[in-house]
């Protein structure tokens, strides 16, 4: 199945894009999506365990993802 991965700020710069579609198994977790993402050039600059959101809510690495989910990799936030 396909999930849409969003990248922001320094992570978008690291991978040279702010969005990428990834193919993952139907039983994939957030951790599996990250592992797949790490095969892309520039992904070696991501930290070992970045914050992740699924469909705009913070998620755990063990959470399952579904086809069409929006998986966002969240750099350290710096609002205010």
């Amino acid at each position: 199945m396909s999930v849409r991965v969003l990248l922001f700020a320094s992570y978008a710069e690291a991978l040279g894009r702010d969005e990428v579609a990834l193919d993952v198994p139907v039983t994939a977790t957030v951790a599996d999506v990250l592992e797949q993402l790490r095969t892309l050039p520039g992904a070696e600059r991501l930290p070992p365990k970045p914050l992740v959101a699924v469909n705009a809510r913070y998620a755990h690495l063990a959470d399952l993802v579904s086809a069409g989910d929006e998986v966002a990799v969240i750099p350290p936030v710096a609002g205010g």
Partner: protein, 146 residues
């Protein structure tokens, strides 16, 4: 309660007026502004980026939690996005209550939680022409490779 992510200049006086009520004896306001120095480097401006759908949700959740944690508090918050110049407001929080302690604490709660979890990022532009993403978890800004 109300919160918003906006791309126009913020108006602190409007937020003060928004929380005014006859039952409130105390109103606190927090305004965050772009300053000219950060960790020893001369700053010329700041870009604020957000994961908009999520930032709107988290900001609203933070403001709702402030009102739940301090019953009787009325809280509003606006956060700016886009390019800001020095001295411009990036965030404004107004909190009103019958009494001053919860008014102060609700306002403080919102800015602390906002900085902890609302997905907003900022890129500093320096006077020397370089720029970098601000990483509050690092000792120094992350070099930017545009």
């Amino acid at each position: 309660m109300r919160s918003a992510l906006v791309s126009r200049p913020l108006d602190p006086a409007a937020l003060l007026a928004e929380v005014a009520a006859m039952g409130h004896g105390a109103t606190t306001l927090f305004v965050g502004t772009v300053r000219d120095m950060h960790e020893g480097r001369a700053v010329s401006g700041m870009e604020y980026h957000a994961y908009e759908a999520m930032a709107v949700h988290e900001l609203n959740a933070v403001v709702a939690e402030a009102e739940a944690r301090f019953p009787g508090a009325q809280v509003v918050c606006e956060h700016r996005t886009g390019a800001l110049t020095l001295g411009e407001a990036s965030v404004v929080i107004a909190a009103a209550h019958a009494h001053r302690a919860p008014a102060f604490e609700a306002c403080r709660f919102v800015i602390e939680e906002l900085k902890r979890r609302v997905p907003i990022w900022k890129r500093e532009h320096y006077l020397d022409g370089t720029r970098a993403w601000v990483d509050p978890t690092a000792s120094a800004p992350v070099a930017s490779h545009p």
